[in-house]
C-alpha cells in the first residue's frame, strides 16, 4: 500500500476570510498571489524603464522622454502597447520549440522568486525555511533560457551572446553564493524573515559585513546582465547578442525578466543587508504597521534599483577576458577569504558581532586599497608587452 504524506495532513487548511469556503479560498489565494506578482513585475518593469531613461537622460544632460503624458510618464505604456501590437516574427531557420520556450524559461523563475520576498511581516507568499537557497536556485535557472535563446536563434552573434552569458553567469554564481553564505553564517538562518528580524534598528548587516554586501552587489550586477557586465547582449559588438532574432512581446518578455531580476536582486540586498521592512513607524498599528513596512521595503529596494541605473549610465562595458579574470582572480578569492574569516570569528566569539564587523571593514579597506595597486601592476604588464612587441617588430 503506497501512502504519501499529503499537504493536507501537514496542517489544517487556511481558514478562509470573508466567510469563504476554505477550498475556494485556497484556489483564490493562489490566483491573487500570482496576479499580484505578475502585476508587480510588469508594472515594475514599466516604471523602471521610465526611471532608467529619465535618469540616464539627467546624467547625460538630456531631457529624456517628455512627449507622452506629463513629464513623459506614459511613454513606457505607449511602448508596451506598441510591443504587444507588433507582428510575431520568427526567422525560418530558428529552432522552433527552443525559440518559443526560451523567453518563458527566463521569465518563469524570476516570477517564482517573488514567492519568498519578505515585503513586511506577514506580507509574503511563503516563509520558506530555505528561502535564500530557493532564490539562488531560481537565479541559476535563467542561464538555461539565455543559452537556449542564443542557440535557437541559429545566428553566430546570438550564439556567442548565449555562450558568453553561460560562462559569465556560472562564474559569477560562485562569489554570489559565497557572499550570501557569509550572511547566513552571521545570522544563522536561511529564512528571509529571520534574516530581516536579526537586524533591527541600526544594527543592519551592511554595518556588520560590508564586504559581503559589496561582493554580492557586484556579482548581482553580473547575474542580471547589467552594465558593466552586459556582454551577452552588448548592442555595439554583438548586435544585442541572444536578443537579435527576437522581436515583439517575446523580446519584451526578456526585458521584463531582466527588470524583474534587478528588482529581485535589489530586494535581496534590502532584506539581507539593509534591514528589509524595518524603519520608523512600522509598529504603530497592527494593520497600518505592515503597510508602512511594505513602503520602507519598496523605498529601499528602489534605491538599489536606482543605483543599478546610476552604474549603467556611468561605467563602460568590460571585455570578456577582464570579466573572467576579475571574477576568478579577484572576486572569488576575496569572498573565500571573507567567508573563512567570518566563519572562524563567528565560531571564536559566539554572541558578539563586533570582531566580525572589525574584520570585515578591514578586509573591505584592503579590497578597496588593492584595486589601484592591481591596476598599476596590470598597466606595467601591458607596457612591457607593448614594448616587447615593438622590439620584435623593429
Amino acid at each position: 500500500m503506497v501512502t504519501l504524506t499529503t499537504f493536507a495532513e501537514q496542517g489544517p487548511l487556511p481558514l478562509g476570510p470573508f466567510g469563504l469556503d476554505p477550498a475556494v479560498w485556497a484556489v483564490l489565494r493562489l490566483v491573487i498571489a500570482v496576479a499580484l506578482a505578475a502585476g508587480l513585475v510588469f508594472n515594475g518593469a514599466l516604471a523602471q524603464i521610465y526611471l532608467e531613461r529619465k535618469i540616464q537622460a539627467i546624467i547625460q544632460d538630456r531631457t529624456g522622454p517628455f512627449h507622452v503624458g506629463p513629464w513623459g510618464l506614459l511613454q513606457t505604456f505607449a511602448d508596451a502597447i506598441k510591443l504587444l501590437g507588433k507582428e510575431d516574427i520568427r526567422a525560418t531557420l530558428t529552432d522552433h520549440w527552443f525559440f518559443l520556450a526560451a523567453p518563458s524559461i527566463v521569465f518563469a523563475p524570476m516570477l517564482a522568486s517573488f514567492v519568498v520576498i519578505p515585503f513586511a511581516p506577514g506580507v509574503m507568499g511563503a516563509d520558506l525555511n530555505i528561502g535564500l537557497l530557493y532564490l539562488t536556485t531560481l537565479g541559476s535557472m535563467t542561464v538555461l533560457g539565455i543559452v537556449l535563446a542564443g542557440w535557437a536563434s541559429n545566428n553566430k552573434y546570438s550564439l556567442i551572446g548565449g555562450l558568453r552569458s553561460a560562462g559569465q553567469l556560472i562564474s559569477y554564481e560562485v562569489p554570489q553564493i559565497l557572499s550570501l553564505v557569509t550572511v547566513v553564517l552571521v545570522v544563522g538562518s536561511l529564512s528571509l524573515t529571520k534574516i530581516v528580524d536579526a537586524q533591527p534598528g541600526f544594527q543592519i548587516n551592511a554595518v556588520v559585513i560590508p564586504l559581503a554586501f559589496v561582493t554580492y552587489f557586484i556579482s548581482g550586477l553580473a547575474e542580471t546582465n547589467r552594465v558593466p557586465f552586459d556582454l551577452p547582449e552588448a548592442e555595439s559588438e554583438l548586435v544585442a547578442g541572444f536578443l537579435t532574432e527576437y522581436s515583439g512581446m517575446r523580446w519584451g518578455l526578456f526585458f521584463v525578466a531582466e527588470y524583474g531580476e534587478v528588482t529581485v536582486v535589489s530586494s535581496i540586498v534590502t532584506a539581507l543587508w539593509f534591514g528589509g521592512w524595518h524603519g520608523p513607524l512600522t509598529d504603530v498599528h497592527p494593520v497600518i504597521g505592515p503597510v508602512i513596512g511594505v513602503l520602507w521595503f519598496t523605498l529601499k529596494t528602489y534605491f538599489f534599483v536606482l543605483v543599478f541605473m546610476w552604474i549603467r549610465a556611468t561605467l563602460p562595458r568590460f571585455r570578456i577576458d577582464q570579466l573572467m579574470s576579475f571574477c576568478w582572480k579577484l572576486l572569488i578569492p576575496v569572498t573565500i577569504v571573507n567567508l573563512m574569516v567570518t566563519a572562524a570569528l563567528v565560531l571564536a566569539f559566539p554572541g558578539s558581532l563586533v570582531p566580525v564587523a572589525i574584520a570585515n571593514w578591514v578586509l573591505l579597506g584592503l579590497f578597496g586599497a588593492s584595486i589601484p595597486f592591481l591596476q598599476r601592476r596590470r598597466l606595467v604588464g601591458l607596457r612591457a608587452r607593448l614594448a616587447a612587441r615593438e622590439h620584435a617588430v623593429a
Binding site: 525555511n129 541559476s140 535557472m141 542561464v143
Partner: protein, 170 residues
Amino acid sequence: MSFGFIESAVFALLVIGMIGAGVGVVLLNRITGAALLMAFTFLCNAGMFVLLGAETIAAFQVLIYVGAITVLILYGVMFTPQRDRPYALFFQRQTPLAALAVVPIALFAIVAAVVSFSFRDNPDAPRGSDLVPLATSVFRDFAFPFEVASVLLLAAMVGAIVLVKREEDS
C-alpha cells in the same frame, strides 16, 4: 470538497513528465533536445522531492542539475561539431535485445515495489526543510565519506584538465 486528490494528481503529472521526458532523451535524434528534456526530467525529480517533503534536496537538485550540469552539457553539445549522421546509430539495431533485457527487470521491479515497499510517514523524522539535521549528518556523521567524495571530484577535475592540455600540445 477536500484537497486529497491534488497530491495524487501532481504525482501523476510528475511521473508522466519524468517518464515521457526520459523516453524522449533516449529516442530523440537531436541532441540539444535530448539535453533539454533531461533538464525537464531533473525538474520533475525535484518536484518529487518537494512532494516527499524534502525541499532542501529539491532546491539542490534544481541548483546543481538544472542550473549547472545541463548548461555545461549544452555548452559541450554546442561546441561539438555536428555532422549529418544516419538516423539509426549502430547500437540502435539492438533495440529488441535491449527490450528483452529491460522488460523482465522492469516488471520484477514494479511487482517488488507494489508488494513490499510502503512509504510510511514517520512523524519523528526531521522535515525536509530542517537544515540542522542535514548539516549534522553531512558534516559530522558522514563527514569522512563526504570529504572522500569531494577529493574524488577534485581528482576527476584535475584529470579532465590534464586530458585537455595533452590534446592541445600535440
